[in-house]
């Protein structure tokens, strides 16, 4: 259920909980947490989303109220690492629909209208058709999961997502045994997504998973971050989060889901097939043809924060390595 703004005490408890789980809190994080709480007060008083830290209110651009989401932390699937601050997560990311610079999604996404939202489900499944967001996502069963996110560009973050396991959505459609793969598409609205006016990628953005990957309990359909609805720049109103794959697999603002027998083509693979494979599992041993994937820069570690080694499957090898037993990960990168 969606909480109204005056019911945010649970959110406060959640923040306290995040603080408790930290062994050592770097000073930068303390600032961000307090800023976070300040924002919460602003939500209460104004009912509009705005933010301090020198970031202008209008640049967040959401005209609509950002609702708070009630969720339960799933400790089994949450890392104990310190999450990145809300400003880190919402001002620095790739979403080429809004431009190619990492500040572009935050700067250029104010025109985007994620409400109301419907998703077209088609292909090899018993139940297909057009569904409203609320039909797909059970807002009473939201989970919070703190996942690592590793971008193919060798930077990484830790993000407290709110969402529901992807399998719980997909099984509702009763896919046939012929549904070996699932493809996803981002909405195509060049008038609201200025990046789509140039053909830098094959629009609409397309991504795909094998049915086994999609049904894996770690695969999440996210609708929020830090207990709030997703902002436009992060893929509102719903996006995938596949934590053991490079970030570009976690497709944003999804409005089409298709069950199919053959492996789907994906936007980055169409753009540069030798650089971006269908699987795109995080793998420090398989370099991008133009740069190394052995290390990553964790955002928020500051000016002199050293790069850290990248882990196989982004640290989720124990959970997901079985999905790829017998597969040559150098060939199927």
């Amino acid at each position: 259920m969606l909480e109204s703004i005056d019911e945010s005490d649970k959110l406060h408890l959640l923040v306290m909980k995040i603080n408790e789980t930290k062994i050592k809190i770097p000073s930068s994080e303390i600032t961000s947490e307090s800023a976070y709480l300040n924002r919460r007060k602003l939500i209460q008083s104004v009912g509009l989303f705005s933010l301090g830290l020198g970031l202008a209110e209008s640049t967040f651009g959401q005209n609509q109220e950002i609702r708070l989401l009630k969720s339960m932390r799933n400790e089994n699937y949450s890392t104990k690492e310190t999450p990145n601050s809300f400003p880190d997560i919402t001002t620095y990311n790739n979403f080429y629909e809004f431009g190619m610079q990492k500040s572009d999604p935050y700067m250029n996404s104010e025109m985007f209208e994620p409400k109301p939202w419907s998703v077209e489900v088609s292909g090899e499944a018993n139940l297909t058709g057009t569904f409203d967001l609320e039909d797909l996502i059970d807002f009473n069963k939201l989970e919070e999961r703190i996942y690592r996110l590793r971008c193919v560009e060798a930077w990484s973050m830790v993000i407290p997502w709110v969402g529901i396991p992807l399998f719980s959505i997909l099984k509702k459609f009763e896919p046939f045994s012929s549904a070996k793969y699932i493809s996803f598409e981002t909405v195509y609205r060049p008038n609201e997504m200025p990046g789509q006016k140039r053909r830098i990628l094959s629009w609409p953005y397309k991504e795909g998973l094998t049915i086994q990957e999609a049904m894996h309990p770690l695969a999440l359909m996210a609708v929020g971050i830090y207990g709030k609805e997703l902002l436009n720049q992060n893929g509102a109103p719903m996006r995938l989060v596949i934590p053991w794959k490079y970030g570009f697999k976690s497709i944003k603002s999804i409005n089409k889901i298709h069950f199919q027998e053959r492996q789907p083509r994906t936007s980055w693979n169409i753009s540069a097939p030798k650089e971006y494979g269908f699987y795109a599992n995080v793998n420090p041993l398989v370099d991008h043809p133009r740069w190394s994937q052995s290390r990553e820069r964790r955002i928020g570690t500051g000016f002199f924060g050293a790069k850290q080694p990248t882990m196989p499957f982004n640290g989720y090898a124990e959970e997901v390595a079985d999905l790829y037993s017998g597969l040559d990960l150098r060939k199927y990168y």
Binding site: G54, Y96, I200
Partner: protein, 182 residues
């Protein structure tokens, strides 16, 4: 010409909305971009002097070129000392593993050659080898633009514009030198 540099210093001190979420990346990208902009400007000076008929403009080549070198030096040092924390072993491996870094390193060496010639002692040599110098600046710019083009996931507009201008400059240069020989 140092304005972008001072802006970057102000930003690293937290003014003018700072360096953003990934400060190391911002510094490396900004110094790199200005390196290429000044290199392009250096190469544009000769045709500007040629067509405007104001020969004294050509004298600007050296200071603008040195400015480009200054930004390249900052670009390389911020990569080596901040991004790679000054670990020479790591830097060597990183450059070898990363094709666009090899290209960038090549460009840096070209400019290092040009800049070293700027010392007084080598002035005479410089005056006798103008074509070598301009060849090295062309080499550095080609490698620099290639490095810029190659590090991005998709073709960026700015690198595309520089590639087009650079191609035009090379063709112009070739035409001038063939005309001279005839």
């Amino acid at each position: 010409m140092l304005v972008p540099y001072f802006l970057l210093i102000f930003r690293s001190l937290g003014y003018l909305s700072g360096l953003g979420v990934n400060p190391v990346e911002t510094i490396i990208h900004e110094t790199g971009l200005w390196s290429i902009r000044f290199l392009m400007l250096t190469l544009l000076i000769t045709p500007i002097a040629y067509y405007s008929g104001i020969g004294s403009i050509a004298k600007l080549g050296k200071p603008v070129g040195l400015m480009a070198f200054f930004y390249v030096l900052n670009h390389f040092l911020s990569y080596a000392m901040i991004d790679q924390a000054g670990d020479i072993g790591v830097i060597v491996v990183d450059i070898i593993e990363t094709p666009y870094l090899i290209v960038g390193w090549g460009g840096f060496l070209c400019l290092l050659g040009v800049a070293s010639v700027s010392f007084k002692r080598l002035e005479n040599w410089f005056n006798q080898n103008r074509s070598t110098i301009s060849g090295l600046v062309y080499g550095a710019t080609i490698l620099g633009v290639w490095h810029f083009y190659w590090q991005a996931k998709v073709v960026e507009l700015e690198s595309l514009i520089y590639s087009i201008i650079l191609t035009g400059l090379i063709l112009w240069r070739l035409r001038i030198s063939t005309n001279r020989k005839q």
